[in-house]
Subunit: 739 residues, 2 copies
């Protein structure tokens, strides 16, 4: 490190003086190339960068210039001096992770990546921002599919939680695999945010957890320009954010001239690297600096205008007639990044070699983890049908029976819960909690970073957004499991969606589904939520009817390596159907549960309503002389992937016999497969589970006559009469809370 | 007030000594009946209360006893001494509002309401908790339908935001209607919370806003028992909560012996009443106090057991053989509440009389507001079709044209935005912002509590949960409007659901819907969200296709006085169809847009895809000799409410001609009405809006041949062949982000 640094006098509030910061951290240079006389060079980079951003937005008259322009000095500090990464190999495993939580400022990231030498981001690509090019690598928010992007951000606040997940990943892998003298993983996570990420609840949930876990390998860089769309940010937020962060267990550092003070930002970043807590760096910047729209919402989400950009360039001594100009000196300034990155990789490879010699078994497992492969054959941990209980068992209990051995033995499984440990049955043998190693709870609980059981607190949204970060760290290295009541996955829906969009595998254990959950009442009884997850692209919503199907659901979830799966489970005991249920059937989404040669109708059902369905079938036969076949239909999306022939073999439309869906949810979506539904169209009610079912007409003696009537009508009028007349058979629907 | 109070020496940290608290606040006694020698009486109430709660959970072996038992002393302070309410008229307008945000402790509220004299809550009713009685007034979480319950809580965190809404309601009405010497409204809002409400993001969002707005008529009572389901609360939360609250602009008070120190709690509550900020009262209690399970998660969500309860009663000198015992002395202790409440009402009526004499016009309007009636005839502010633009106009702009005059003139309209003022077009003439009157933003913005334009910041969930509180204050007094991009209503979904469950009217302006929003990319383009809101009971999701339909959407939303409505709007300009579109049609959910005598198929569409649909109809005619009629289908729920005859007249199934739905969302739900859909099955893509449509095959020249092929197949195979074969016609589906 250049000794000249200690002469710098601008010390940011809370940051250590440069000379107090170790020149090496874990044996590696902490900062490279920072010298006393760089101010002019920085200035040239800042001007070039800002003018380029303005040009990018101007060419198609849209985009978000202001934030990216304001953050330019932060970018120099990060990309040139502090962040450890390798542009020629963006997936270098021990790279620092960078999350742009204020994703609309994506041009910041794209342009610095270009300057740093990420090959795919050519000037032509930079110009494709907001263009009609299908192959653009510069979408309006960063997308994980593109080289060098760690995670897709967009909807605000979640990036903070993603960053917490990324930092946890490092802490956990380091605790498990690092050995004295062999640091195989120790990267930092840098999370860039704007005002919104500190206003959105999910960001605040994640902040609280990062402080609790003492994730000192995490730093938030707050682009504090005090401007949001509505005006100055204080229009809706006047809290003392530093005090708040400190109250949450964070180290805080102020940087006042964040527009130019590259060295001050470097100091702050280096202080973060050696902090004992996560670090919050509060950097004052000016949005759209240099523009006439600077320091106003106008600079946020619109092009600045030709004249404004010309005058801005003139003021900076740039040629207003020229666009997208990057002088050689600016490129040269970043010339050392690629070789430095290669050196980092080479050093790390050497570290891994030494580690492999000394700890061959651990290193072999580590390499599997790095490669994204399961450390063991998981199939052997899934119990066979014979090993499952035959007595009535709740499917949440079945989920425990299936998942606990996986959790115990598979080092990639991270089990989390939003404070429902006693309800979700996810605890396992030899469980260690993920906690800071010096932590002792009032109740005596302890843990350390090797722990794979995560207490997320009552923070469902952060739980799932953090899980996204855990997976994004390196696809396949972790398989996070989250757990809470199904209803509360409505809080987490924005995160489940982002997982689906990014192809991030995880398993969500959603217990207490349907009105069967009982006494907690309508606020806890999901009605419409399945319709969301069944229609959401790339999500498997699986609702198994017994232990065998629960096993099948886990097989499907583990097999779907680029898909989040929600396994929807009962609170109450369910009849087990070892004669009928099939884990292989689950893989196909639906399958024939009880076949009949000659039949009058097909009943299809899922989860905890299967019991009513089978009983209703029996009653229909006995009392109404109606023969029903039964289909178990745990997952619509998996069924959609089957062949036309298979679908027909299950639903047997060609028979001309009607199909009735039985499920205590809103019927929406079953219209694709059935002619009628016995379902719910109101919210639920607070009653004991079995009584709730009864209240809403889920009783064979109530269901059978309704279905019989329908079958007779079809026999009378012909199956064709049903077109455009999907029938809601549950006459008790609407008994619930009505207005 | 009893002078003896000042002798009390237990002063809670941060609370004023009793003698420093004014005996009267706004001319009314601040506390009634608190005397020096009450400790024994309190003790008897506490024991009686706690034993009763234990009995309630024991009878059916379930429920949540621990929290309610721990909070007993808080209940005495509130219900006996400080809270202003009238059990004989629970809807007395100027009552203090009480929100039980930790709703699982509902027995706390039910039993104190019983003791205070709420007639409907008999002992028999108290015993119906967790019973199979359909008419129980004691559901597992408090429900707004029941007398004396201000708001339905359940999913945690939202109660805090509801309470913020309730407090805002008072501030606003007070600022508009109170006059010197005539305080017609000045109630407090007391919000009881547990740990979860401080962990959930929505609670934290609301806390930040309450501090910003200086809602000094709001107090949070934190039942700090440091126990959650997973163990001690510090297992997942070790922040300094008082510091955090102070950083957010709150006054904080500690009460250390919250199990017994009724006077200390009273002091804290009275201090809150005269604070200049919202007040956070951090009350240490012991969950399940007296039980062997006390201070452990076991006391949270299960009955304590017969033996434990017997031993608890013995220790307290109660008869273990007796259950549900409330001695006369305990009833007598609360005897003054009903007459005190009547007196409050009488005083208030007198105030209103005096006010009516001096300010007759204002009083007349106020009385309308109190009665829940609109202050003016709103229909006159809705522009006629002739007044609407005929040039292409985005539907978000149309929404502004329709809503702005309503906002300007209707004093019950409260317009809010989650920091998207420049995008959602909801600003209006003579707008005043809702702000603390002493507030001046850095950008110069000011406001006061009369303001009806609310900057919620980037906090969608709090925005909608707060709106629920605003409506719950008194149904019909306010009609909150919220606004943000449609995609971000996934963050607010838990709150929209609670509004639907409670029948709380509001209008959600959801702009930038569908892939048409363009460059921001897939993170901002909703695909599955409509399926959630279309299946959610008691929600109107309306997607108008032009300005006339936007007017119709507002008419429907304002008419639906017990229903939240989401109006889904385009970012981009849309062709206007004054020849075809109909506001009356919107009221029926769907209507014939373009009729044809002889036709080959029916096309149905919504919103911004109507333009493609009409163009495709024309192309089908011209190039394929296929005649299509067109149906506009802005709202599935409204259509469901129509007669079978009307439905047939719109969709004309009996013709035997196929129906094709065209919408750039997931097809789920259209299967009820259509035989095929041209829709989206993947997430979107970052491209300019028109190019995104093109990328996903939403172009007449791509759509027409696909639809023509389908029509020919139906003509060949017969309409019956379609059963069980719902067709996804968009072959380009799945071009998007795939894994």
């Amino acid at each position: 490190m250049a000794p000249s640094l200690e002469y710098y006098e601008e010390i940011s509030h809370g940051a250590l003086p440069i000379k107090s910061i170790p020149t090496k951290i874990n044996g590696v240079e902490a900062v490279a190339g920072l010298q006393l006389d760089q101010t002019e060079k920085h200035d040239q980079v800042l001007k070039t960068f800002r003018a380029f951003i303005a040009d990018q937005c101007q060419q198609f008259g849209g985009g978000h210039p202001g934030g990216a322009m304001g953050m330019a000095a932060i970018g120099i500090a990060l990309y040139k001096y502090v962040m450890k990464y390798s542009p020629s190999n963006p997936s270098y495993f021990n790279r620092d992770r960078f999350v742009l939580s204020n994703g609309h400022t994506c041009l910041f990231q794209y342009l610095f990546m270009h300057l740093a030498g990420f090959k795919s981001l050519t000037v032509e690509q930079l110009k494709s921002y907001h263009s009609d090019r299908y192959d653009s690598l510069c979408p309006g928010h960063p997308e994980i599919e593109n080289e060098g992007i760690e995670v897709t951000t967009g909807p605000l606040g979640q990036g903070v939680a993603n960053a917490v997940g990324l930092a946890m990943a490092t802490k956990h892998l380091g605790a498990v695999y690092n050995k004295p003298g062999h640091t195989v993983i120790d990267n930092m996570t840098w999370c860039m945010i704007g005002d919104a990420c500190l206003q959105e609840g999910v960001g605040l949930e994640a902040v609280s957890l990062a402080g609790h876990w003492k994730l000192n390998n995490l730093a938030i860089l707050y682009d504090n320009n005090n401007i949001t769309c509505d005006g100055s940010a204080d229009v809706a937020c006047t809290e003392n954010v530093n005090d708040k962060m400190r109250a949450c267990g964070w180290n805080t550092i102020d940087v006042y001239d964040g527009d130019h003070n590259v060295t001050g930002i470097v100091q702050a970043l280096l202080t973060a690297r050696i902090s004992q807590k996560p670090t919050f760096i509060n950097i004052r910047t000016i949005i759209g600096i240099g523009s006439a729209a600077s320091n106003s919402p106008k600079a946020h989400g619109a092009a600045l205008g030709v004249e404004d950009i010309a005058s801005l360039k003139k003021a900076w001594g740039l040629d207003p007639e020229q666009h997208f100009v990057i002088p050689d000196e600016v490129y040269n300034f970043f010339d050392d990044i690629v070789p430095r990155g290669r050196q980092l990789e080479a050093d790390w490879s050497k570290t891994i070699d030494g580690y492999s010699n000394q700890y061959p078994e651990l290193a072999a497992e580590y390499k599997l983890r790095v490669s994204g492969k399961m450390p063991l054959d998981w199939t052997k941990f899934i119990p066979s049908k014979e090993q499952l209980p035959t007595a009535p068992t709740s499917s949440r209990k079945s989920a425990g029976i299936v998942c606990n051995p996986l959790a115990e033995n598979m080092s990639n499984f991270l089990i989390g819960t939003a404070d429902l440990t006693p309800s979700v049955n996810m605890t396992y043998k030899k469980q260690v909690d993920f906690q800071s190693p010096d932590f002792v709870a009032a109740c005596g609980m302890t843990g350390d970073y090797t722990g794979r059981y995560i207490h997320y607190g009552i923070r469902e949204h952060a739980m799932c957004s953090i899980s996204n970060g855990l997976v994004a760290f390196n696809k396949g290295t972790f398989l996070p499991v989250t757990s809470t009541f199904f209803m509360f996955y409505i809080y987490a829906a924005p995160a489940v969606r982002m997982a689906a969009l990014q192809g991030l595998q995880q398993i969500h254990i959603a217990t207490h589904d349907s009105i069967g959950t009982g006494e907690d009442g309508p606020t806890h009884q999901p009605i419409a939520l399945p319709a969301l997850y069944r229609s959401m692209p790339n999500v498997l919503y699986i609702r198994p009817c017994d232990g065998e199907e629960v096993a099948g659901a886990f097989v499907a979830a583990i097999t779907a390596t680029s898909t989040p799966t929600i396994i929807s489970l009962s609170r109450q005991n369910l009849t087990q159907y070892p004669q009928h249920s099939s884990r292989d059937g689950v893989q196909k989404g639906a399958y024939t549960f009880i076949e009949e040669e000659d039949f009058d109708l097909t009943l299809l059902s899922t989860g905890s309503e299967m019991g009513f369905t089978v009983q209703t079938k029996e009653l229909l036969q006995k009392e109404y002389n109606i023969t029903a076949r039964v289909v178990s239909f745990p997952c619509q999306r998996l069924f959609e992937q089957q062949s036309r022939e298979y679908k027909e073999s299950v639903l047997r439309y060609k028979s001309g016999k009607p199909v009735v869906a039985i499920e205590a949810y809103a019927p929406n979506g079953w219209e694709r497969y059935a002619d009628a539904a016995y379902s719910m169209k109101s919210f639920g009610k607070s009653l004991p589970g079995p009584v709730t079912y009864k209240y809403f007409g889920f009783e064979p003696k109530v269901m059978a006559p309704k279905i019989s009537e329908f079958v007779q009508e079809v026999q009378r009028e012909g199956i064709q009469s049903l077109r455009g007349e999907f029938r809601d058979l549950n006459g008790t629907m609407g008994y619930g809370v009505q207005h």
